[in-house]
Symmetry: C2
Subunit: 303 residues, 2 copies
Amino acid sequence: MINKPYNSALVIGLGLIGSSIARAIKEKKIAQNISAIDNNEKTINKTKELKIVNHIYDSFENISDQFDLIFICTPLSSYQSLFKKLNSFVKKPTLITDVGSTKVSVINDFKSFVNNDKLLFLPAHPIAGLEKSGPEHGFAKLFDDRYCIITPINSNDKFVESLSNIWRAIGMTVEIMDAERHDRVLAMTSHIPQLIAYSVVGTATELENQMKDEVIKYSAAGFRDFTRLAGSDPVMWRDVYEKNKEAVLEMLGRFSEDLLTYQKAIRNNDLKFLEDKFSRSREIRKIIEEIGQAGTFDPTEKN
Amino acid sequence: MINKPYNSALVIGLGLIGSSIARAIKEKKIAQNISAIDNNEKTINKTKELKIVNHIYDSFENISDQFDLIFICTPLSSYQSLFKKLNSFVKKPTLITDVGSTKVSVINDFKSFVNNDKLLFLPAHPIAGLEKSGPEHGFAKLFDDRYCIITPINSNDKFVESLSNIWRAIGMTVEIMDAERHDRVLAMTSHIPQLIAYSVVGTATELENQMKDEVIKYSAAGFRDFTRLAGSDPVMWRDVYEKNKEAVLEMLGRFSEDLLTYQKAIRNNDLKFLEDKFSRSREIRKIIEEIGQAGTFDPTEKN
């Protein structure tokens, strides 16, 4: 989908997603040179060891080159200072995209801190991930068969198509959405499940000691699926709840109301209500399997 | 662990667990002859096709043999009538165990409906499973590296050791627990996560239509893990909430209180609270990985 590789790409932030993008750029020949920047020394050393990129920097001050293509892959709380830096750093027209889990806040930050028209920015959210963090867990195939939602600031900007093609070349199916809508949909598909997973695991950590040990020991019963989500990066998620507060609180309200109806049904032995609800939920699962978005879970241990 | 195979085993109910047990009995040579009984015609035909057992029956009235070993693998709501039937069916000393997700109710049902001392019954709960149901999804290795919690009615009964050895031969690590404690621990590790998963998926089904389609489409973001749980058998789960009502309501109360503290933190921008809680939950995940109870999730689609 990319006729001729770009000369140079910069990945800002080498966590799971950033390092996977760097790998995909290399594997799919999207750019000839890949640089990266990260402020964590451990991450820098790990990245050097893994040989994922050609150059790695610890700050913008040490970079003398310009780039054709920049991916922002850092927690949402870093965007304001990052946009300020990019605003002064970028000297030639540069395609820029990001991977942030909320999009309204990202667009607001961009508008507040960027007045340099050489930054050709397409807000994006690749819907792909894993509960692991750090460059050692990334892999190029993470994006295959998954959607990348883009929320263009002006959809008729010419660079939207170029950046969409880059996401496609990485392996994703690109879908356009309004930023507000993105934030509401993702509140439901991502931010609420994640919060609930953290909360269930949190409840377990506060049980009396012996009981807590047993909950961990017998976690194969469903609890482990929640702990898998709860293995994700705490800072990244903390930022999501700050930046998507309104939509998260709305969906959380809906969820809590619904949960109360289940609680009441259990208290009143309303078995028909429970069976009906459970059967309807199972239908949703079947659809997700049919459209190929289910992933695969192996209940055995790989030894 | 079994010196000499038993002559004959009967598996009652050929769902995911029953069919996996039948396969394990064969593979690990626990009994020479395996019979099964199921009241669902489709399940019977599927089992014949799969050649998992030597004989399959649709009711006790059609069985003339006696067995050395019986596994009860049916939903909890069937136990009362099943114990009544076994009470009159069993003519010689027979080792009997079950796989029910609650244990207090099972023991109560046994005591209420059995007065035949040839039924040597060990209540058990193999902590292993998958969201699929039906004999076509079972496999012998489902039990490897997993715990089987037994809750003996009288722990000095001699047959407890024989039945424990059978569970060990199937591949499990046997742990003894008090039935009340089992029901509380499992409320937390299994019944609450399952209920919440159903509830989150249920909330999504009630969104306006276009939004619902998008939630399904972009489910790879965390929601899909909940739908995986929500793919489980509705009748089995309905019964669990009836039979373990008190413990489930208690744990649900704890969870709801905790979730409210997260909600308040989001509303008040208490980012420190969120980050601390998220970090503690991640620690729990690490422990579960370390003790080898995490399973493995592959975020890609197997094509």
